[in-house]
Symmetry: C2
Subunit: 210 residues, 2 copies
């Protein structure tokens, strides 16, 4: 299956694999055992040809005409995305967004264990949310090192986000999901994704009739 001459899959393809995984998980919950690129495509609003092409970057997961074994494909995608393990995650910022993140069941259900939430506001420190204690920023670096944390979610105000990023990258974080509405400057080995609901609304207003 491995072919050393193949170019690495494009990042946009990697970004679709979690969507395939989510759709497959739902199919498995419906006690289905087999699916097709057509069925997946219908559910995701992606063409079946695109799905087959995306998956072909990683191997041959289905037989022509018989479709995909759902459990097998879930296992393969988890393996490719390195999800057959738990990942410790830290949350920076215990405001409304940070607290919503700590309260969101979906992280733990998918193997992302929030090991700490950090804030600089003394009034917030010591509070416990969903079993996770708010800790002072001064404990951020030791927590990242102790749990070998590679993933962080930044939920600070925009003005504090870059400084937080610098500190956690220095401590060993290599992937950041940022809710702060600024573009972070990071070294090339660090991956950043953004969640910005205002930009998503502004994208859609383009299409609205007034």
């Amino acid at each position: 299956m491995a072919n050393q001459l193949k170019p690495p899959p494009p990042d946009i393809v990697i970004g679709r694999l979690p969507l395939y995984l989510r759709a497959l998980d739902l199919l498995a919950q419906e006690h289905k055992e087999v699916t097709s690129s057509y069925e997946l495509g219908e559910r995701l609003g992606i063409s079946s040809a695109q799905i087959r092409k995306d998956l072909s970057h990683f191997g041959d997961f289905g037989k022509q005409g018989t479709g995909y074994q759902i459990d097998f494909l879930i296992g393969q995608l988890q393996h490719i995305l390195k999800l057959n393990r738990h990942w410790p995650v830290v949350v920076i910022g215990a405001g409304h967004v940070g607290l919503a993140l700590v309260n969101y069941k979906g992280f733990q259900d998918n193997g992302f264990d929030i090991v700490g939430i950090f804030d600089r506001d003394p009034e917030k420190i010591g509070q416990e949310i969903n079993g996770v204690k708010v800790m002072p920023d001064s404990e951020l670096v030791t927590t990242i090192q102790e749990y070998k944390v590679k993933l962080a979610m930044i939920a600070t105000p925009a003005a504090a986000a870059q400084q937080s990023a610098d500190i956690i990258i220095e401590a060993g974080v290599r992937a950041i999901l940022s809710y702060a509405p600024i573009t972070l400057v990071v070294p090339p080995e660090v991956h950043v994704q953004y969640i910005d609901p205002v930009s998503k609304l502004q994208h859609m207003t383009y299409y609205l009739e007034e």
Copy 2:
């Protein structure tokens, strides 16, 4: 400037315009008056050629060698994205995510006015968060019609999201930002964007060394 023969700009270009707008807003806050595709590109991690190409879909906004007038370009982008007005928005679901949305200042700062948050849990109804009252689902349709709401954010559990979408689309909503981890089935005239932090984390674990 208008050229009827031009094809419509690709959706991926539209999706980058809010990022340009955000970067320009920050430059304006720094009291800068002029910028360049190079400076914008540096701040956004997007090539200057890409930025010039994206903007060229909509007109000629800068002079070769003199760059862009920031205030002018902000005004143009706001006009293109239909942001030179306020948009009423409803939030469906008053759980942790819904409450974080109502508490987030960024919507109002950008002209998105949350006119109501809706839930089916009688214990939540009547609560007031950040000046917005939690209302029962039964008032959703009348609120959408009264305020001519075209935009909604869905923050319900996955199992309730499709039903909520059906109801609000029937009432007149034409753009949905969904926090529920399922793909919504909507008619072609309705735009949907998703916010799914788990998928974003899973995208990045691919690149992490274990």
